[in-house]
């Protein structure tokens, strides 16, 4: 049997104040999956995905990437597993758009010539190249979210984790992030999206995982689970509720 891309065994995490974040998580993730991690606020989605790249240390249990513990080479894990945080404002480090995107590569001590080339390529890919000298503070919400994605893409991750990628975005902003997500999946990356509202993405997902109280309650293809969503405090997408099954959100 081939090893899964990411394997999580009996993962538990308790915060220093005793709150239990996640309990007994077992999960295997294969290449090219598009996973939605659903659950109401406080169900442990953020806590779980922060374990994937070692930002949080588990109280017990282990995580492997391609069969090796992620803590064996944490920088490799963080390069391979990119993470976009929920709040775009507080994850921006650079004082210009260009510097912000270059930050990760500079940390890896990549040579300057390659950085300049790679950053420009990613900025073009996400249609941000005309903003390269702007201060990130002056960008719109959608542009900031795209910038955060650009900062991860330069590191060429195989797996990308998104924490609530659509929160606080308007309709065009949501559409453009959705397009990026679909493109990234089509180019062969594994996508994991933590969300409490899946209206926009459910049609593109290959797998739906529902969490509650820090536990995985359901795991399966979206079409089988969509009717159970509301039992866990997550809104069922309109098209499904109206009896049309799962329909793509954009035309």
């Amino acid at each position: 049997m081939k090893t899964p891309l990411i394997k999580i065994e009996n993962l538990n995490h308790s915060f220093s104040d005793g709150t239990c974040g996640i309990r007994d998580i077992c999960l295997c993730i294969d290449p090219e999956e598009f996973i939605i991690l659903a659950g109401r606020n406080g169900s442990g989605k953020t806590t779980l995905i922060r374990h994937f790249n070692g930002l949080l240390h588990p109280s017990s249990g282990k995580i492997t990437l391609n069969g090796n513990s992620i803590f064996k080479d944490i920088n490799l894990a963080r390069k391979k597993i990119g993470m976009i945080f929920q709040d775009a404002d507080t994850q921006i480090v650079g004082d210009t758009v260009f510097d912000e995107v270059a930050f990760g590569l500079e940390n890896l001590k990549i040579e300057r010539q390659y950085i300049t080339k790679k950053v420009m390529q990613v900025l073009k890919q996400l249609h941000l190249d005309h903003l390269k000298d702007r201060s990130p503070a002056t960008l719109s919400g959608g542009e900031k979210r795209k910038l955060a994605i650009a900062g991860i893409l330069v590191m060429e991750p195989d797996i990308i984790l998104f924490d609530e990628p659509f929160s606080n975005l308007d309709y065009p902003g949501t559409l453009s992030i959705l397009e990026i997500l679909i493109d990234l999946h089509e180019s062969g990356r594994t996508i994991i999206v933590a969300a409490h509202n899946m209206e926009a993405i459910i049609a593109h997902a290959t797998r739906l995982i529902i969490m509650e109280d820090g536990r995985i309650k359901k795991d399966g293809p979206p079409k089988d689970l969509v009717k159970t969503l509301e039992r866990f405090g997550i809104k069922e997408p309109c098209s499904s509720r109206l009896g049309f099954g799962i329909q793509p959100w954009q035309n």
Binding site: R50, N53, L55, N75, R78, K79, G82, M83, F85, D87, D89, T90, Q91, I92, V93, G94, D95, T96, D99, F103, G104, L105, E106, N107, L108, K109, I110, E111, R112, I115, T116, D133, S135, P136, A137, T138, G151, I152, M155
Partner: protein, 251 residues
Amino acid sequence: MAELTLFTYRKGDSLLHLLDVRCKFILLCLTSICIFKAHFSSVFLFIFVLIFFFINCRINLLKNLSGLAFFLLLLVLMFISRSVALPGDPVFTLFDISVTKQGMTDGALMVSRFFTIMMAGILFSITTRPASLKNAIQWLLKPVPFVPEKRVAVMVSLALTFLPLILRQANQVSDAQKARLGNLNKNPVKKIVRLSIPLLKKTFVSADNLAFAMEARCYDEDRTDPEFHLSGKEGLFFIGGLVLSACLVLY
């Protein structure tokens, strides 16, 4: 928020815009120190040089003088205090306070020196991106022992990105309190306490998120060195700057 003031960077391709920041920064420091030895003739020489550069970057200083009102007022006060404080031949006497000729000359010289430094500073900040100033500081601190120049550079750039964020959060908190009629309480101490507690809380949460976001992108102090662009005129400017500094000290 990002208002255009006299001190903010403006895009351009003038001589000073293209000049290497390190050269610009060193010359600014050098001439600012030397000008405190200067007399009228060399101060005027310096002012002529500055006017040339203002024209070269197409900044109309006269239009912008209103932004300097406070500074000009300060200069006037400085002139007045100087002219009455120095003993010498009285020009006229008012209520036993005599304005002396020596005082006026000395005051005028001091005011013109401060004014010139101010102009040079404005010119520097208009033509220099904050990000490249940060790079110059990092480069200049490199030979200084016991100063971790890369850490300093990251701190400077975080300060530059986080100041607008903190200011915006302060505005939000203050608006939220006004919306609940918090402005009816006129006690300034209470006001500050009520403003600062939620603001500090927000700032700590942001700092926590930021630390996670930097870690997720492999933050390391041993980073790729910044890149500088030489315009090819640095040698010329350096010699010019040295000559000017010599004039300032000698004449």
